[in-house]
Symmetry: C2
Subunit: 439 residues, 2 copies
């Protein structure tokens, strides 16, 4: 180990810091980069944390019995019967996913595009990420056929892939892999003896449509699927830092539990005790928690769909989004115009153009593992719900959130920016949309 592993700052957190810097400098910015949920804490949840302020002991490495029981109930209600003894809590999904990589060992298959930290974490764990593309419109899950080929080739070359990470629903695309794709993924993982790590932190943010909720690969490969989730996305408490893993009820799962808790004991000891109390309450899902999540989900859906309409009107291609607060528009249909008008030929340049010319923060596809020459960017709507608690609460409870002035202003600004960038007139939400010209 001659030099430290090269690690770059998390792209989302770096973008947050950059937007905060510009805001402090007095610039007008529109932050569509980070997926941090800009909503207030549910008062009942806040009260639980405050009431647990006397809790100062480590408690069990895997989390308190109350938290683990609550998590088991949470998954059982999602058709994943769970033993509390196979639940492991950590200070966020991030450390939990990293600890899983250390506990499983070997190289890691990572979908492309996928969340900014999987590949870097694999390298930090001494492994190599093995990039496998996803299928069109089915983000978060590597194409099972391409997965088989990549793993076979890697093994022939002396590498040792032992796990595959999937994101269900997907960040960055907001799409959800088809149940048939998950069945084929499960079969491939079984044939190749891979552990599936299924990051399901967005599973409660699937829009209420006839397509129904996302299916977990744990339904198809229960013996080898680890499911992770947390409170960050559905309850807007990213700053509280808590993540939860459900290990498979199998010989493999129990061995992994032993290794994971050993790694956790050396990496973080335990998860902030008062937060564990609050999380235990949240995971029992009393009515006020369910109502909050449902309201947040509706808000995301309303705003994301409007943003998607803007990108589509501008001539970009957007896969139909079914969940989350994310969009992953492709500007490929606008390649010639972007090159001719702005000299833009890649995603990094495109994102830089948004930031420098318009003060719009979003992330280039490269942050998610895309090649730079693919003109894709990730857009997150979760930072435009308001700058004060009052505005954010109004957004959460509004029947028509798009009519709230601050949300309308942000989306109108996006429309104007896209009009200027693409030359296609993108109408504000209350005017009829003409067809795009450059697509």
């Amino acid at each position: 180990m001659p030099e430290p592993v090269p690690v770059t700052m998390s792209a989302t957190l770096a973008a947050d810091a950059e937007m905060a810097r510009r805001r402090r400098a007095g610039e007008q910015v529109l932050s569509l980069a980070s997926g941090e949920i800009g909503l207030p804490v549910l008062p009942e949840l806040r009260e639980r944390l405050a009431a647990a302020a006397h809790r100062n002991t480590y408690g069990p490495v895997a989390g308190s019995p109350a938290l683990r029981e609550a998590a088991a109930g949470y998954w059982a209600r999602r058709d994943l019967p769970t033993e509390a003894d196979l639940v492991v809590c950590g200070p966020g999904s991030k450390p939990l996913l990293f600890a899983l990589m250390l506990a499983i060992g070997g190289d890691v298959v990572v979908p492309v595009p996928s969340w900014v930290s999987y590949a870097t974490q694999a390298r930090m764990a001494g492994a190599q990420p093995l990039n496998v593309p996803t299928l069109p419109g089915q983000g978060g899950v590597p194409d099972p056929d391409a997965l088989r080929e990549a793993v076979t080739t890697a093994r022939a070359a002396g590498r040792n892939p032992r796990s595959v990470i999937v994101t269900l629903p997907d960040n960055p695309t907001g799409t959800i892999a088809h149940p048939d794709t998950l069945r084929r993924l499960a079969a491939a993982a079984r044939d190749l003896d891979l552990v599936i790590v299924s990051d399901e932190i967005y599973c409660d943010l699937v829009y209420d449509t006839p397509a129904g909720p996302a299916t977990s690969p744990a339904a198809h490969a229960p013996e080898r699927t680890v499911v992770t989730t947390g409170l960050t996305k559905n309850l807007a408490v990213g700053g509280w830092r808590t993540g939860i893993a459900r290990l498979p009820d199998s010989t493999l799962g129990r061995a992994l539990h032993t290794r994971l808790t050993a790694v956790a004991s050396q990496l973080w000891s335990s998860t902030t005790a008062p937060v564990q109390d609050a999380a235990a309450y949240a995971l029992t899902e009393p009515p006020e928690i369910l109502a909050y999540v449902a309201a947040a989900r509706r808000l995301h859906e309303n705003v994301v769909r409007q943003a998607a309409r803007h990108f589509t009107a501008a001539g970009a291609h957007v896969e139909p989004v079914r969940s989350t607060c994310y969009l992953y528009p492709s500007f490929e249909p606008l390649r010639e115009h972007l090159h001719a008008a702005h000299g833009i030929t890649g995603a990094t340049r495109l994102a830089t153009h948004f930031a420098q010319h318009y003060g719009v923060g979003l992330l280039p596809g490269t942050a998610f593992g895309d090649h730079d020459d693919l003109l894709r960017i990730r857009t997150a709507t979760s930072q435009i719900y308001g700058t004060t608690e009052a505005e954010q609460n109004a957004a959460l409870t509004a029947a028509a959130p798009l009519e709230l002035p601050w949300i309308k202003a942000a989306l109108d600004r996006l429309a104007d920016v896209l009009t200027d960038l693409t030359g296609n007139p993108v109408p504000h939400q209350d005017t009829p949309a003409p067809a795009p010209a450059h697509a």
Copy 2:
């Protein structure tokens, strides 16, 4: 990377779990294994956490400006002028020390004996721990001459040590390296171009004696010393998970800051936001915080010194303890008796004997890197201050804590166990002590 790095459960946390199991099974146990501080949270500190329950955003990776400013002030009051921009907060010293290893890279020199997690964390970071013994009575700092030799030999063999970890004051021994040893350590680190990582989490638990506080190696090698601390030990909030690092104000320090925050952004994002608020308050050290720490320090000193008298009366050798709630008695003077009477020839067997015959939990020296044939064990007194908040508060405020019935009972039990184990009559604290027979 064919197999996962072998990681065993943290010895202290494993011992805690084992003691909890025995207690649930109805056994009478005396827990002297874990250094978790069994005291309640200061009410004012608890209130700060509760008041910050609305804080739900990540904030900066390195910690909030308020926390970093408060930490800078904390160190400045300890003769270590500090820039807030060079402070990095993490969810506990554990993840912070691990992230430092990843950020620095290379192999790590680790003192023997030393805290249970340094060596394992080095292996988890893909490095190799390079064990260097400490000097007698000066735990926590590798013998500077032995350090030079070990690093030179390791480099000749193609290894690449880049850092040395020290613990000031020391866990497991409760001793403090001499200022001259620190000067020689600093010179060796400079000559060998090593980063010094100085774990000073016990720096506020140095007993009030003419010898004064511990000197940080940052005083001798300011350009290359990283200092870490936390609230776990002085304010008894281990379960809150917060650690803080002070990076050197130098080219090296600023480069390390960039790498450390990048690693932190990928490993943990940020530290629990309400805890950061409470920590910022604590680190400004208002009178009630200083009074709490002073009371805890006096309690540790009273109890540790009494426990040391018991071990000494039993014929064990104990280096004079100047800090912490730890003792590291050597049973070498009793080797023949322990072998003849109990078949005990090593530290693991000695610790097992304490647990199985007497229900006394303590840790064998092997947990700290000692060879098993050295008859040393670590004893922590921090779990015998009471089982209820009322008892613990009484212990914290008592002028004569040794007279509190539950503390006296625990220490009398230790005396009786040592009498039975060694054959040397160990008097209870209020009867005169005869000279040991077997030593």
